[in-house]
Symmetry: C2
DNA sequence: GGTTCTCAATAGATTTTTTCTATGGTAATA
DNA sequence: TATTACCATAGAAAAAATCTATTGAGAACC
């Protein structure tokens, strides 16, 4: 008997389906089959009744599950005490700049692997904190952008913190504006078009170097500036004040509502949006799944 | 964290010495070192303070040990419920004919590996039951003798039950008599000498074929027969009735007392005393240690 | 003050265990 | 009848545990 076998067992029992449980556990179905079978053989009991419809817990299996839960409960106390997180619970944390596709991918991950016990975090935060979170393993993964302007500085920060950057997509700059903005009728916008309107940007804390800005072209002069920390607030101000923000142009109506629209910005610049990971540690299965989901929702 | 690591941990804490604990656990010392270290790294704690004098539990280690014991307690409940034996407890069972060296080796094993939780059995029983116990895994090992007379029959029984026989030693037949017996003065005895005295032998149950007798020469006629099941009873009768019994001549004063003496028996026969094991299963570490101890105490 | 002893740590090889991929078999479903 | 959704099996591959041999460090001994 190993703790691993017991955890597998519980998942199978909860799922009612070996194949599905194996997927949740990030192992191949035959591995799970043999782990469970080994447990059954060790104690000479039949925990599950197998059929081509899935599995069903036998009465003696039910009794065994009771014992198994007791063991795991105690084992989880150790995890809680010494790691601060429950092992029974899945644990996952993303630190990111404010992109809706990050949230979309996150939702997908939750739906697929959340189960009935989890603790997932989305930390939409300042650029430097993303780097800090990932390098100190507070977050499994970070999401940020590089462009010609900030690349050298950011890449150095990544190197210094033992992180690697992987590109998700390259985006042409867009401007987010409210759908009733005077600019809404244009096909594309220039910096000159934007000049009279308030510019919205995310606060970058003490590291308020331009290099850590979430928006490109932050060095361009602007008379009206609004600085916020929250994406919803930003959107509210965008609409209320006829403001704008420069970004990757990834927009999702469901998430951002129909009141925000994106317009191409006519400048010779780009944003290379990607994720960062600690270079020395292999990403967890869950992180790998999240990256898959990111690639699914991320389009330039 | 694995259950194995936790069990190792407890043993180390109890033993206060990695090297010694490794021996008790039947693993190499570096294996233990790395198992413990892995546990400490996983939770970022120092459980033991190492020195060249051994190890010492730190205060935070003490706390962790508390948690560990809780987990193992629950895990042991499973073992108890489904295997009838505690895994925390060492479990060992010998089935044997009535030889004092079997008990001596058993005592040595207990002293060395008993620890503070164990369940050890000595089943001094009838020859056929020895074979039955070992083949049905009720006992780890069995001890019995072969000679020219019973060898063919016993070896067939062993084969039929998937057992193998390994010789411990070859003994010339001796006679056990009380120290005050009229025969005590002789250097050696013949069958004729014994004729007038009661012969003691062990009961062999329903399989009372001569082949399963514990004593050689059981086919020789005898007028006075006493059949017992207990070694102490046999010795009592030996003394009280001036009886005799034919055996391998292995005698230990500490165990059998000064009232029993062994005399060589002048016959052209021998006893090949050895142990039997299931051929398909590799003997446990404890069983291997027991065999070592048997070899130490067994002399023809 | 050097030598020996005891015990834990390290290195590298080896064995064992776990997990994987690919495939088979079975019963329900379309 | 073909397809689908399961779990089981076999053999290869990867990962983990364990082993032997050796090092290193401090205490005890002479």
């Amino acid at each position: 008997m190993t703790l691993k076998q017991l955890r597998y067992l519980i998942t199978v029992a909860e799922t009612g389906n070996m194949t599905e449980a194996a997927r949740k556990l990030f192992i191949a179905q035959p591995s799970l089959t043999s782990a469970i079978r080994e447990l059954e053989n060790e104690y000479g009991i039949t925990i599950f009744e197998r059929s081509n419809k899935g599995i069903e817990v036998t009465p003696e299996g039910e009794e065994f599950l009771g014992y198994a839960r007791q063991v795991l409960e105690q084992a989880d106390l150790i995890e809680e005490r010494y790691t601060g997180s429950t092992k029974g619970k899945l644990h996952f944390c993303v630190s990111s700049q404010h992109y809706s596709f990050v949230v979309e991918a996150f939702v997908e991950l939750l739906k697929e692997f959340g189960g009935d016990k989890y603790e997932f975090h989305v930390r939409e935060t300042q650029t430097y904190d993303i780097i800090d979170d990932v390098s100190h393993l507070r977050s499994e993964i970070g999401i940020l952008y590089l462009n010609g302007f900030n690349e050298t500085v950011i890449r150095k920060a990544l190197r210094d913190n033992g992180l690697v950057f992987e590109t998700l997509f390259r985006a042409k700059p867009h401007v987010f504006i409210g759908k009733d903005s005077p600019l809404a009728s244009k096909r594309s916008l220039t910096l000159k078009d934007l000049k009279p309107y308030p510019r919205l940007s995310y606060e970058q804390g003490s590291h308020n170097s331009f290099y850590f800005s979430e928006e490109i072209l932050s060095t361009v002069d602007c008379d009206k500036e609004l600085i916020v920390r929250d994406r919803a607030t930003l959107f509210n101000l965008l609409i209320g004040m006829n403001g704008y923000t420069i970004c990757s142009g990834v927009i999702n109506e469901e998430l951002n509502g129909p009141n925000i629209i994106a317009k191409p910005l006519k400048v010779d610049d780009y944003m290379e949006i990607g994720y960062i990971l600690p270079s020395s540690i292999r990403p967890s299965h869950l992180t790998q799944e999240y990256i898959k989901a990111l690639r699914k929702f991320a389009r330039g």
